[in-house]
Amino acid sequence: MRLHEYEALDIFEQNRIPVPRRELVSTMHDALHVAGEIGYPVILKAQVLVGGRGLAGGIRTAQNEDELKEAADELFMSEVKGMPVRKVLVCEKVDIARELYLGMTIDGYSGKPVIVASTEGGVLIEETARTSPEKIAAIHIEPSFGYYPYQARGLLRMLGIEQKMITAWSDIIGQLYHIATRYEALIAEINPLVVLTNGGLMAVDAVLEVDDSALSRIRFPLPDRVDRIENPLERRGREIGVTYVDLDGDIGLISSGAGLGMASMDIIGQTMRPANFLETGGGITADLLYRCMELIMMKPDLRGIFINVYGGINPIHEGAKGVIRYMQEHNVKIPVVAKALGNRQEETWEIFKSGGVHVVTEAATEKAVDVLYKLVGPGEKGPAAKSLR
């Protein structure tokens, strides 16, 4: 779960990382009031959960009331990368001498947390990593050993940081690692970490992504996870316990695994256009697939449905019952094609067929997708392969 910047800044502040004065607002009136209290110039930052917000116009500076009115007006009317801006953080504009970078993530390949620091922060940090690798240093932390401050000092020496800055930097690294540990963060990042003209360090941005699997055992207050999903269909997916991603096509998809779902999308996308990605994981029941059908059918103008499930851990015959119950109760007329293999496959086929589902018994998803394509054609929007990256 990715926290909003304002939520992460609060947590950073509670853990003694210096952050700017700021307040969250959701109206122009409040923005004016807060900016008056903080004092101009101020920075307005759209609180949307997307990366590259700055380059997409989500961050604005206002030197005075007029500029603030204009900037806030535009922000509240805008979308940043498709996300509507409902909340804006009004921040003190600090005097920056230099921008640095500090981040922590999990290196999946080595199976260790990694701390990354750079003497050049800001939006182009990934570019810096490619062009000037000497400006970046990283250290891995052994899980059974833990983090100690001397590791941070070593990291900073690798970067050639002046000795007088090392204590302040390494204190912030320690605090960031502490936060990452307590919140079971997959990412904890400060970009930029700035050197103020008075010599101090400050985190003027904050990223914190908490491990979803650990949410139930984190002892600190966290925002509600479902509430923050903007898209109502995706929110519904989370509520019923499946992964749903909304897409712009017209073919509904239900799969029983993420890899299978992605491959199904890749294959569908060659000739048609998926309306969604839906992955059930290992918890299929008749009720769950009933709700999945309900969810994908919320999308208007669906032309067909593709179901791709395996009976490994999942009782697919139960799932089939849920699908046809929905179809019968709601009189589904669009073609539904199902590929269902594995344990109890024959039983599953019979159930699907009894409800009017087109069953494919071959292993290759391509063949099942072909069956659907022959029933519904390319549609008006054309194949996804043409427009998606």
């Binding site: 999946g108 990934e126 990412i187 055992r217 695994g257 890899g259 299978l260 890749d266 851990i313 392969a385």
Partner: protein
């Protein structure tokens, strides 16, 4: 023959008394797997599918001579049970459950490596050796004995590839799910190495997906060490972007685990990159695999 599992593999099922644990024990036994015991603390003395249940792994090992374990334990209890299993001397562990906190996986991985234990998962369908046995949840009907090895990050896609091969009369030596989590207990290259050294495997298929850098790192291993033909499919070409690991991830890796990046690395290592799963049949035919 096979990798990881063989004739002398004696399996215990942890969490055997649960709904999934008992159902999967049924399927494993039906497939001929030597399931010698189960463990659920507090349920010792019971039987599930005719298999004796013990209160602790140590007891199960002592009583049954088990040397491998498959987990159907609730996510919150996996770390503890995993450490217990290693301390009891088990050397092969399959972690089927999903949603295990990454922090726990890091600890599990570091301890398993320290103790020389081969562990797969989390979120893995396990291991299946066609005609011999299986540890995990792979549905037996899709597999046929043969000489092609499969390693998959995705459970369901491993079935898909085995199914397509079986339909084309190409059998499998061993099918291994390495687990779908961002951190897994063993990396792709470690499993490739086992297949490279297995005299009953002629070729290997990697079923990968967008995100992470398993495939990129494996490409390095393949170009340095592999002599057997390797094919690879990477799912997620048109998918919404995979789990983004922030700038830090991108900086450390130098790429963001894109499908294109993986394709390039694998092609440079001499791997046959498959555009679509069904292409695996053609590739197998071209390489005269069976």
């Amino acid at each position: 023959m096979s990798i990881l599992m063989n004739d002398s593999t004696r399996v215990i099922v942890q969490g055997i008394t649960g709904r999934i644990g008992s159902a999967q024990t049924h399927w494993m036994l039906e497939y001929g797997t030597r399931v010698v015991g189960g463990v659920t603390p507090g349920k010792g003395g019971m039987e599930v599918e005719g298999v004796p249940v013990f209160n602790s792994v140590l007891e199960a090992v002592k009583e049954t001579g088990a040397n491998a374990s498959v987990f159907f334990v609730p996510a919150a209890g996996v770390l503890d049970a995993f450490l217990e299993t290693i301390d009891a001397g088990i050397k092969l562990i399959v972690i089927v459950p999903e949603h295990i906190p990454v922090k726990d996986v890091l600890r599990m991985r570091s301890y398993a490596l320290e103790k020389g234990v081969f562990a797969l998962g989390p979120t893995t369908p396990g291991i299946l050796v066609p005609g011999m046995g299986k540890m995990g949840i792979m549905p037996a009907s899709l597999f046929q004995p043969g000489r092609v090895g499969i390693i998959s990050r995705s459970g369901t896609l491993s079935y898909e590839f085995a199914g397509i091969l079986s339909e084309s009369k190409v059998g499998q030596s061993t099918v291994v799910g390495m687990g779908a989590d961002p951190v897994v207990l063993r990396n792709l290259a470690d499993i490739l190495e086992l297949f490279e050294n297995d005299r009953d495997t002629d070729a290997v298929i990697i079923v990968g997906e967008v995100g992470g850098e398993q495939e990129e790192k494996a490409a390095g291993f393949i170009s340095r060490k592999m002599t057997k033909p390797v094919a690879a499919y990477i799912a997620g070409r048109y998918s919404p972007q995979g789990k983004k690991m922030g700038h830090a991830g991108a900086i450390v890796r130098g790429s963001t685990g894109t499908v294109a990046g993986k394709h390039e690395a694998l092609k440079n290592a001499g791997v046959a990159v498959l555009d679509s799963p069904i292409d695996v049949a053609k590739w197998a035919k071209k390489n005269k695999l069976k």
